[in-house]
Symmetry: C2
Subunit: 399 residues, 2 copies
């Protein structure tokens, strides 16, 4: 039997109230994919976007235009929704205070977000809890860097304490001259010991206000110039290392009192030593494969967590998932023209963000599930190459 | 490393052209779920809806308001998009001709749609091809029905040749008086022999204009008063019966020259005999579990098929999937209030359509994957009961 709307019944309003209204500051691809999850749950996702042509507005999220720096816009946005969350960390402390002053919950809180906004704060606080951060120090001068290097050895890693992303504001520095060049850019900097890395992983946790949380199987990530280019889930690491990584990731989520998705990036050394890298308090690139691979995606769980609803099962429904980011190629992209050929790889799930291409900019991703991680990864790379050319998926530069 | 939009870059337009524009006549839940798939593929889904509060407009599909009976609205809609498709069959022949006259492809074609719109046409044409339809005849009078029953036995099934859906316009008739009552409603009727049914199944195929097609594993459906209430995929039937059903479903898709999703409902008798029931030329309730259960959902494949793009893998990534429809309860529904408790069943995927509740109206569905169909079905029923009460999921009536 077929199901069709009755034309005669169309005169009757057919709408029902949304199950909830969630406001997300920022209209990028994270908000776009959160919107797709919101559709399932009958949740209206409102986004505060700068332009109507950002990824989430293009996908049909309820859009309010305004800058995340405009306190009035933030306040007006907050009162429309049940809870405010964010697709990026670039909201000023004043902005977060304005949101909180609306009387509506802001999740994560400003205090939690500070761990993602300020690397020196994160290192200092997490070190005080005895968590395994690399040796670090705030630096003002080349002499500070050199003194640190004398103790820990060159190279060192210079990091802008605020405003870095996708590897920007992070520089491996091999001597005083390079340190001087970095510091001359201005802003506040810190320095860290260079860590030997065998593999990088991420632990993605969804956490409710009361502390209830669920954690996804550990993700193995491949970074290039500080930007995630591909991943495999679950990570191909020893079970005891995965267990330690999971315990550390969830401990960090708790320590920062994160609500929503908390993604914790970890370095695993050649001897299995785990060191904390960065963290994010929102859906994260390392969790994108959960859309197809997990019973509940990180986007569904982010919504459920910020709404203080029970969290969904994070089990993988496949032995292995692989994901390759689509980065804008050097020349003009030809995504629309190339998409049909790429879809001929019939087991791939292609996600396009609606973003104009720039060299190295993340414009989408490809996920392949399978019994074998290497096979899945090789198929996902094949699709990425068909879409953006072999240069595209690994080229480095802007967002 | 975190990924965030650069506020400074916001002054630069960031949009890219859609990979394609697909127009869907109708703004119901099928269009809503097609929109979610369109987001992944960078496709803009345009819907021609009667009201802005229908399920697909609420989810953010590009919405044009207009009646499917308004030839001018249909023409104007068609010229905006690359291809026109439909979420229901209630477009008049004149309307389909107006769409075709726009010069843009209409997929499926009016000729194919006639198989879903006109049951007598479908029976006549498919019988002529030797396909296993039940004995049938057009009827104008009670005497016609009685003559048919004399040959095939009471009861018989009276069907409105056009306009039926979800069991409406289909009546099991046990004698001449009941036949008279049915015919007195007016409209054209046909009669069919009553078929002994052990199990009902559906075969969902996606087919491109050139005939290339992919078929999902057979779906076992449970109907109540002609409306699908729950399903299990793959169907728990003998492999050779599944093979025959699949062959028949794909043969019907080919015979009607369907493009997009073609869902073919079949009766399987106690002796394994397969008989054709109805067909639909659009995404169908029997395919909804493919969102979670299959590598490529029916909604992705419908878009790919009508765009003449390569089709996606239809394999299931789970041993078993179960789905239970959410039907509006007799009293007021309390979905928003009940949703959190229902989500505590952490492995369930809840889909809400944004439709106001009326008794028996399909307002959403719940899918659970698992190793065992019976366990998955029992969990899905549990969630449905939590959302709409034990009466709700099985109550029968409107759309």
């Amino acid at each position: 039997m077929v199901e069709v709307p009755v034309p005669g019944a169309a005169a009757t309003p057919t709408t029902r109230p949304a199950t909830a209204r969630v406001g997300m500051v920022g209209g990028g691809q994270l908000a776009r994919m959160t919107h797709a999850a919101a559709i399932d749950l009958g949740v209206d996702l409102y986004v505060l976007a700068v332009h109507p042509d950002e990824p989430a507005p293009l996908a049909g999220a309820v859009t309010r235009l305004g800058s995340p720096d405009d306190l009035e816009a933030l306040r007006a946005f907050a009162v429309e929704v049940d809870v405010v969350t964010l697709d990026h960390e670039l909201v000023s402390d004043e902005g977060l205070a304005a949101l909180a002053a609306s009387g509506h919950p802001v999740r994560p809180s400003a205090a939690a977000l500070l761990y993602a906004k300020d690397k020196l704060h994160a290192r200092t606080e997490l070190a005080a809890l005895g968590l395994p951060v690399p040796p670090f120090a705030p630096v003002d001068t080349v002499e500070d860097v050199t003194a640190f290097a004398t103790q820990h050895g060159w190279p060192v890693v210079c990091k802008a304490t605020r405003g870095g992303y996708d590897g920007r504001g992070v520089e491996v520095v091999h001597g005083p001259d390079a340190a001087a060049a970095v510091l001359s850019r201005g802003g506040r900097w810190m320095v860290e010991a260079h860590v030997d890395i065998a593999v990088e992983v991420a632990v993605v946790t969804a956490r409710r206000p009361g502390g209830e949380h669920v954690t996804y199987p550990v993700v193995e990530t491949v970074q290039q110039d500080g930007q995630l280019v591909e991943l495999v889930q679950p990570a191909r690491i020893a079970p005891e290392v995965a267990e330690q990584a999971t315990a550390l990731g969830t401990r960090v989520a708790e320590a920062v009192d994160g609500v929503g998705i908390v993604a914790v990036e970890l370095f695993i050394g050649p001897d299995g030593t785990i060191t904390l890298n960065e963290l994010a308090l929102r859906p994260h690139n390392s969790g994108h494969a959960t859309i197809e691979a997990a019973t509940t995606s990180q986007f569904h769980n982010h919504l459920r967590a910020v709404l203080d609803w029970p969290l969904g099962d994070t089990s993988l429904r496949t032995p292995a998932a692989a994901l390759v980011n689509l980065l804008g190629p050097d020349g003009p992209d030809r995504i629309a023209e190339r998409l049909p050929a790429a879809l001929a790889v019939s087991e791939a799930a292609v996600h396009l963000y609606g973003k104009a291409s720039r060299p190295g900019r993340k414009i989408g991703h490809v996920t392949v599930l399978g019994d074998d991680a290497e096979v899945a990864l090789s198929r996902a790379r094949e699709v990425a190459d068909l879409l953006v050319g072999p240069g595209g998926r690994s080229t480095r530069s802007g967002t």
